[in-house]
């Protein structure tokens, strides 16, 4: 599967739906729904409700996140919103505000 990259200067206002991994260096506002991995890089900024398999946050994410597998907030990551995921890791230095619901199965 090819990897989709949203470059630094790009601003997307709307909905992104897909089956492949997505890397965000720019700005996305709206909604993201992926059956794959989402990577928000350092410069990346996301203001959206997100439904993905995996998400790794190095940049800024504002919105509710629903991950089927795992959420990782790295040391440079900032996240505001409610989380729903079976696996979660928040590294030292990360900033987080919101509710966490770890799905027990």
């Amino acid at each position: 599967m090819s990897n989709t990259i949203i470059g630094q200067t790009l601003v997307i206002d709307g909905e992104i739906v897909g089956d492949e991994s997505l890397t965000i260096l720019g700005t996305v506002k709206g909604r993201i729904e992926l059956n794959n991995k989402l990577l928000v890089e350092n410069e990346g900024s996301v203001e959206a409700d997100i439904i993905v398999d995996n998400i790794t946050v190095n940049g800024t994410v504002t919105g509710n996140v629903d991950a089927r597998e795992k959420i990782e907030i790295e040391s440079t990551g900032q996240m505001i919103g409610d989380i729903r995921t079976p696996k979660l890791s928040i590294k030292e230095g990360a900033i987080f505000k919101g509710q966490i619901d770890m799905v027990m199965e």
Binding site: S2, T4, I5, D13, I16
Partner: protein, 198 residues
């Protein structure tokens, strides 16, 4: 890497996209696209949008109006339905297209600036005489100012001379006073001696 944005095969975006970099679309986009660079619509790409870019290369399917600052190319495998406004348009053999093409209106909006630039350039040659005249004027004005300054100097120097004169005259006056006083002293002495003689 950071200058290339790729919208992959399976991605569907509905909404506005804005940016200052090249955008390669292999997936689907519905909405508006505004780029200050080049849009590459790949073979698998489908765009239903009003597009405003600098350059566009369409190998996929584009439905909507497109406006390009420089050029639009529809390749052999490209398909497009919509209106094109661009100064340069290339439609390769095999491409499919339905719509209007306007290669003049953008020129009308863009070229007057160029024409103005050229008309600026041409007058530079024609107006070079007038410019030299202007420069002469400036020279003359400079000369005038220079002469004025000279005049000022001339005005100043007499003033200085006057000052010097006044100083000298004061000296002279002082000298005269001294001599007068000296004379008075000598007269007084003479009177005293005469009185003493008497």
């Amino acid at each position: 890497m950071s200058d290339v944005t790729v919208i992959g095969n399976s991605i569907f975006i509905s909404g506005n996209i804005e940016g200052k970099e090249d955008l390669s679309v292999q997936g689907k986009i519905e909405g508006n696209i505004t780029l200050s660079n080049t849009l590459f619509l790949e073979e698998s790409g489908v765009v239903k949008a009003d597009v405003s870019v600098k350059n566009a290369v369409i190998s996929g399917i584009l439905v909507g109006n497109i406006e390009a600052e420089e050029s639009i190319e529809i390749t052999e495998i490209g398909q497009m339905v919509g209106d094109i406004i661009a100064p340069r348009v290339v439609i390769r053999d095999g491409a499919k297209f339905r719509g209007n093409i306007d290669m003049t209106s953008y020129e009308n909006t863009v070229q007057p600036i160029k024409k103005v630039e050229s008309s600026f350039k041409r007058p530079v040659l024609k107006q070079s005489n007038s410019k030299t005249v202007i420069s002469r004027r400036t020279f003359t004005s400079n000369a005038g100012s220079a002469s004025k300054t000279i005049k000022k100097d001339e005005v100043n120097t007499p003033a200085l001379n006057n000052k010097i004169d006044t100083k000298e005259s004061e000296k002279i006056k002082n000298a005269v006073k001294e001599t007068v006083e000296a004379k008075k002293d000598t007269e007084k002495k003479k009177e005293l001696t005469e009185n003493l003689k008497k």
